[in-house]
């Protein structure tokens, strides 16, 4: 299995280079989308096969483990979970994009930019080296800036520019944090840095400075609440498959994943970091949902819900860090928190992509994003409305769907960890989410058509339906298959984070 790991990054990057070259030849230009789909499918197969293999450490350039001279690619449980999520959503987005992107010019640019973004996100989740992580974060970010502006309309350019300014500030903080870490330890390899930070004293001022810089930079990328201003503009402005990718995986891979990796595997879970994560998570959860309730633009509403739902994940991860940093940590409880958080992360990738794709289908068929102008779509767009309903029920946490289980686990874990108030807040947010999505159902799918466009809407093309149905099925199945998922995917992912935490709590902590 080992030689296949770097292919997750190389294949999309190489395919993107090929796609650009192919697009310069007339008869090859149409083949970029099939090439992209084939490559992402291959990636999905590889990452699914990796699930069965153990943890893999791959040293690029053949420089062995003894000195960390080269760059290390780490493929542990968490990386595998993220890789499967990324490639699954990317494949669905590519399939959806074939009919959807017909309206746009130069689709080959879209294909190669999206391929580069997918490759870069795979690189992020496989990185075992801090600077390498930063480089791939930056590729994914730059590709997403360009993709948000892909329509070249005034609002899209404005949103992309705003996104780009804040994203660049975030990257600057991350690079400064990496600089400080390198200055203290002289290493960039995450495992090496972790053991050396234990030696120089984890509570030292420089270590705290580095942690603050890295966390605030990554929080900007993850759109946690004090830093969330760009998200509600950027995500709705992008074309629908890109909105699905951005909300579905980019904020997770380059925000939440990197945050969890750095808190647990580089600095080691500690009380301050856990408190920061929990505060950010709670604030995002509450403020995101409260801002979402008043929205009438369907894509903006979904974008605000992304902030709120990512708040759940960060809150759960923070609670896990808090439990793991206690004097006598209850690792089973920390594992439960992480299990809930990571399960919600996976579920959110599925249902939020589904919702963005169905909103894209609705926008294309009715020509509007305003909820008030829609209406009665359930009769005219049966498949799309079915999928939209599945997504809405999942995100609202209605029992048989996956969102219910992950929220339930997070709430139980919070209660067990002694945070009853936060658990109550989480329940409250779930209720508000439900209300907000009842509004979507009421105005978009039920009732009478508000104007001629909505009245004349027809069902979306077959490929778009296929993409949405695949995600809807996953939403239903993953809710029911929770036990095997925990066994094979989510359990190893939580262990990957807690493994290092356990080392720290028995070994080097002061």
């Amino acid at each position: 299995m080992m030689p296949f790991v770097p292919l997750l990054v190389i294949l999309p990057l190489g395919a993107a280079f090929c796609a650009v070259a192919m697009a310069q030849v007339n008869w090859l230009r149409r083949l970029t989308a099939p090439l992209a789909m084939a490559v992402v499918l291959a990636n999905l197969v590889i990452s699914a096969m990796l699930l069965g293999a153990g943890d893999i450490r791959f040293f690029v350039g053949g420089w062995g483990p003894e000195s960390a001279r080269g760059i290390e690619i780490v493929c542990d449980g968490l990386s595998k979970l993220m890789a499967v999520t990324i490639n699954l959503v990317a494949l669905v987005a590519f399939v959806f994009a074939v009919p959807y992107m017909r309206r746009f010019t130069k689709v080959w640019l879209f294909d190669s930019l999206l391929l580069l973004m997918v490759g870069a996100m795979n690189g992020v989740v496989l990185a075992g080296d801090l600077f390498n992580l930063f480089v791939f974060l930056e590729i994914a970010a730059i590709a997403s800036y360009a993709l948000v502006a892909f329509g070249c309309e005034a609002e899209e350019l404005e949103a992309a520019f705003k996104y780009m300014v804040l994203g660049t500030v975030g990257s600057a903080f991350i690079l400064l944090g990496v600089t400080v870490i390198y200055a203290i330890t002289g290493q960039l390899n995450m495992a090496m840095v972790h053991s050396l930070l234990g030696k120089v004293g984890p509570g030292g001022p420089a270590v705290l400075l580095a942690a603050a810089l890295l966390l605030s930079g990554l929080a900007l990328k993850a759109a946690m609440v004090p830093f969330h201003a760009w998200l509600p503009d950027a995500h709705p402005s992008a074309p629908a498959p890109i909105s699905a990718m951005l909300s579905g995986v980019l904020i997770k891979a380059s925000g939440v994943y990197a945050m969890a990796r750095i808190v647990f595997n580089v600095f080691g879970a500690s009380d301050h970091l856990a408190a920061i994560l929990m505060a950010m998570g709670t604030l995002s959860m509450l403020i995101g949902v409260l801002l979402a309730v008043g929205q009438w633009d369907i894509k903006r509403l979904l974008a605000y819900h992304s902030i709120s739902q990512m708040g759940y994940v960060v809150l759960a991860i923070g609670a896990a860090a808090q439990v793991a940093s206690r004097p006598s940590p209850d690792m089973a409880l920390a594992g439960l928190c992480l299990f809930g958080g990571l399960f919600h992360l996976f579920n959110h990738a599925m249902f939020k992509s589904l919702l963005f794709l169905s909103s894209g289908a609705i926008e294309q068929q009715t020509g509007t994003r305003e909820l008030k102008k829609m209406g009665g779509l359930a009769r005219r767009m049966k498949v799309t409305s079915f999928c939209c309903r599945v997504g809405a029920l999942s995100i609202a946490g209605v029992p048989p769907f996956n969102g219910f289980f992950s929220k339930l686990i997070i709430i139980i874990a919070l209660v067990l960890a002694g945070h009853e108030v936060l658990a109550a807040l989480a329940v409250f947010v779930a209720l508000v989410t439900l209300i907000s999505f009842i509004k979507v159902q009421r105005y978009a799918l039920e009732g009478a058509a508000a104007d001629a466009h909505a009245a004349n809407a027809v069902e979306a093309p077959v490929l778009m339906q296929t993409a949405m149905v695949v995600l809807a099925v996953i939403c239903i199945v993953s809710g029911l298959a929770i036990v095997p998922l925990r066994e094979h995917v989510l359990g190893p992912a939580a262990d990957a984070l807690l493994g290092a935490g356990r080392l720290l709590s028995t070994g080097g902590a002061p």
Partner: protein, 159 residues
Amino acid sequence: MSEGMTPIVKNTARLISGFIAVFGIYIALTGHISPGGGFAGGVILAAAAVLIVLAFGRSTAERIFTPSQCHLWDAAGAGLFLVVAMLGYFSGGFFVNFIAHISKGQVGKLFSGGTILVSNLCILIKVAAGLAGAFLALSAFRRQGVDAADIVVEGGQKA
């Protein structure tokens, strides 16, 4: 002709651009033994192209290098770099400096450092073509009149 700058600038550019290009290639070729490297060389080579675009105007420059060619070379350079990296797969890893495993050459001479020389050349091609193409695309948006006409059409349709 109105396009481009004055004849003085054009003649100077004609004289100098070749030297700039050669210097860029030199910087890239000797990257592994002296300061420089593929990226700096590529930017210098692109500077020669930028000089041509600025001095002679966009349409004259497009007779020498078209945007399509720039894309092609850009992708080819990046692809070749990846191919060099992938060749290492046969000697047991990714990005292995397989040439240096066979023969390192004499340190400080041109043919040393294995794949470093080849990679520098790939990056030179990639960066030069990419930046030259980007500058061509940017200079298409020079005149305000054209841009303004576009707004009216677009805005009219949007409203």
